[in-house]
């Protein structure tokens, strides 16, 4: 395990990597953990190995938080997301080191990924109070009715984070989910979960209400079916699922007519609004016009 250089001979304090559920940092209720290694095979830490019960608890926490987060003003949500960028910026060096360890990339490449992740939060921070104007409409129906369509968050979205890109990929799939008022249950990259755990510390200090983002670390193949089949999960992003597992997860998701997104992307490329729009419902309201 990497230790920061004990220049003065002092022994550093290592971090316990835990889950993030309902705004708290519990260990797995199962008491399990699993070793996380660098691509080179060096042990980095033991991360919590979340159980099916942890996944269900996370859904409960997300459902409880979703109502309040949805009801927050779009302006407020935008500011919270911007605050995430601010907090991340302040810890950029720490994230660069963790990303370099997790992904086995050079410090320079890791720093670029962290910078892109920060900028991605900023990009999404601008969306909450604009997406309704882009995705909504006033509808000219043939009759004396006032008719308009507005996008609304789907509710609770399960996200299987990309396996490779431990921070930028994660932010690229998480930010669009919560920007629009959804609550998220995220399964971190199985092999590279540590930057994700550290990101939850940023979220916890950025006024993201507890439960809006919940993070599970562990075995994706163990957790994904629980979330895909869970009847109180409204949508699932399967981008981080192994390609061979996707069809079965889609079948499980069909049981409650979940919205399913599978969209492999180049995370370094400029983002587009599509991912955000995938987790929105369009609500159309009619009212008669008259005296």
């Amino acid at each position: 395990m990497p230790d920061t250089k004990p220049a003065d001979g002092r022994l550093c304090v290592r971090k316990t990597y835990k889950l993030f559920i309902g705004g708290a940092f519990p260990r797995s209720e199962s008491g399990r953990s699993y070793p996380v290694r660098t691509p080179g095979g060096d042990l980095l830490a033991h991360a919590a190995r979340a159980s099916r019960k942890d996944a269900r608890d996370a859904v409960v926490a997300a459902r409880a938080a979703a109502a309040k987060w949805t009801a927050a003003t779009a302006y407020n949500r935008g500011q919270v997301l911007y605050r995430v960028a601010e907090m991340l910026e302040g810890r950029a060096a720490q994230f660069a080191a963790e990303v370099a360890d997790a992904e086995g990339t050079s410090g320079k490449a890791a720093a670029r990924a962290v910078a892109a992740a920060i900028d991605r939060w900023v990009w999404y921070a601008g969306w909450p109070d604009k997406v309704a104007q882009v995705a909504g409409s006033a509808n000219p129906v043939a009759g004396p009715y006032f008719n308009f369509s507005v996008p609304e968050p789907t509710g609770v979205v399960a996200v299987l984070a990309p396996a490779g890109s431990s921070l930028l990929g994660l932010v690229s799939v998480l930010a669009p989910v919560i920007a629009t008022g959804n609550a998220a249950v995220v399964v971190a990259s199985e092999q590279r979960p540590l930057p994700a755990v550290t990101l939850t510390e940023v979220l916890a200090t950025s006024d993201v209400p507890g439960g809006v983002v919940n993070l599970l670390t562990g075995l994706t193949a163990e957790l994904a079916p629980v979330l895909a089949a869970h009847r109180d999960v409204d949508a699932i992003d399967l981008t981080g699922a192994a390609p061979a597992d996707r069809a079965e997860l889609e079948r499980l998701a069909a049981g409650s007519v979940k919205r399913v997104l599978i969209a492999d992307e180049d995370w370094a490329a400029p983002p587009r609004p599509q991912r955000m729009l995938s987790f929105l419902e369009t609500k159309t309201v009619w009212h008669p016009v008259g005296l």
Partner: protein
Amino acid sequence: MAAKASGRAAPAKAAPPGRGQAPAPAVPAGMTAPQGRWDYAAAPESTEIVSIASEYGLFIDGESAPAADGKQLITLNPATEAPLAKVALAGQADVDRAVAAARAAYEQTWGPMPGAERAKYLYRIARALQERAREFAVLESLDNGKPIKESRDTDIPLAAAHFFYYAGWADKLEYAGFGPDPRPLGVAGQVIPWNFPLLMAAWKLAPALAAGNTCVLKPAETTPLTALLLAEVCQQAGLPPGVVNVLTGAGETGAALVAHPGLDKVAFTGSTAVGKEISRAVAGTGKRLTLELGGKAANIVFDDAPVDQAVEGIVNGIFFNQGQVCCAGSRLLLQESAADAVLDRLRARLSTLRLGDPLDKNTDIGAINSAEQLGRIRELSDSGDAEGAERWSPPCELPSRGFWFPPTIFTGVSQSHRIAREEIFGPVLSVLTFRTPQEAVTKANNTPYGLSAGVWTEKGSRILWMSQRLRAGVVWANTFNRFDPASPFGGYGESGFGREGGRHGLAAYLDA
């Protein structure tokens, strides 16, 4: 409303089948109706405009052809149980052929065609539907059992309007908000229900074709005839062969279609149970999917609502098309303080509804579409009795032949009753009560469905407060069951995903 005072003596036998009950309370209080002078004179729409062939083939690659294995099914007039025609029952070989024709058309004609040219074909179809509107309306009422006033004033005009609306998008897709160069998906397999046969065909075909896709449409087993007439319209409009293919058949035809590897897109309207099956069948194939499924809409009436309008809205909400509507307002939520008054008016109004010959221009309630559906309505209604709800129907004699169910209200319904949870898809209204707006929202949202909702109140801020909290794709405030091609329609939750109508409806058929 029930008795039309024509002044002419109506021969007794002219009364439509089943309308045996004396329409007593037809005249507003205060006016006296001399007893016995108000016999109803039937006003049937002529069927002379429609010629139904004895047999119909499949419409594949611009031509009519029998099923490869020669199988047929018989479509009935649900109001009389009389056979209307024999229709081809498409099998796997026919599905293969239709998908191949659609693929060829996508690659060779429709795909490469400029949007402006596609638009003109769609405008032609819209115009042809308008020209032949009465013919379509009569045929729809014959095959489906719905009242002619609904097919004539709602189904057919809206179907034409849908083609007209989406025609205009065909050459403007780059301005629809899906990027500078949105591409069609390819070949779409579309499976539609029997409750609005032509209208659902229009909802599926118009946006798909406007976006540049080609289509294989599978109409419902019991209502194939207007889709086949639409195929004739496509042919006469000069639509290139293979752009629209119509495969009549049964459930296995639809299953074979959605499972076909040659499709890029599957669109389905129908029950949630079948929607889930289709979703499983499509899983892992990469086909794009949109689903418009069942519903159990709450129609919420506050004590400050204008009662007469609300009662009309309640009636329209659950008895339009015999309640065979996915967005039907099948759960009536009445604020306690107004419940008795609304129910009294509602019962009085139901007593004036005319049930009978779908082709009679004054008929309000037509036939149930099939024996199977009638069985389901009966089974669920009986569960209402068994679970302790109180059933009420106006005095109403049902015709001896055909599939009929009287307008029915259940009171004393609790949220756990099956009639409050399951989609009945018939003229059966479950009445529940609430005290506070919050309670109304909680009860309204207490369902896996989320297609539509109604709110009746004079208070504007409450309408908006309720609209924000109701988990439903369409909220009708002080109105119900309104549809328009420019207005997105579709569900939350287990009512499906994707929207039909408006700019949003294009997203289902574009690779954006």
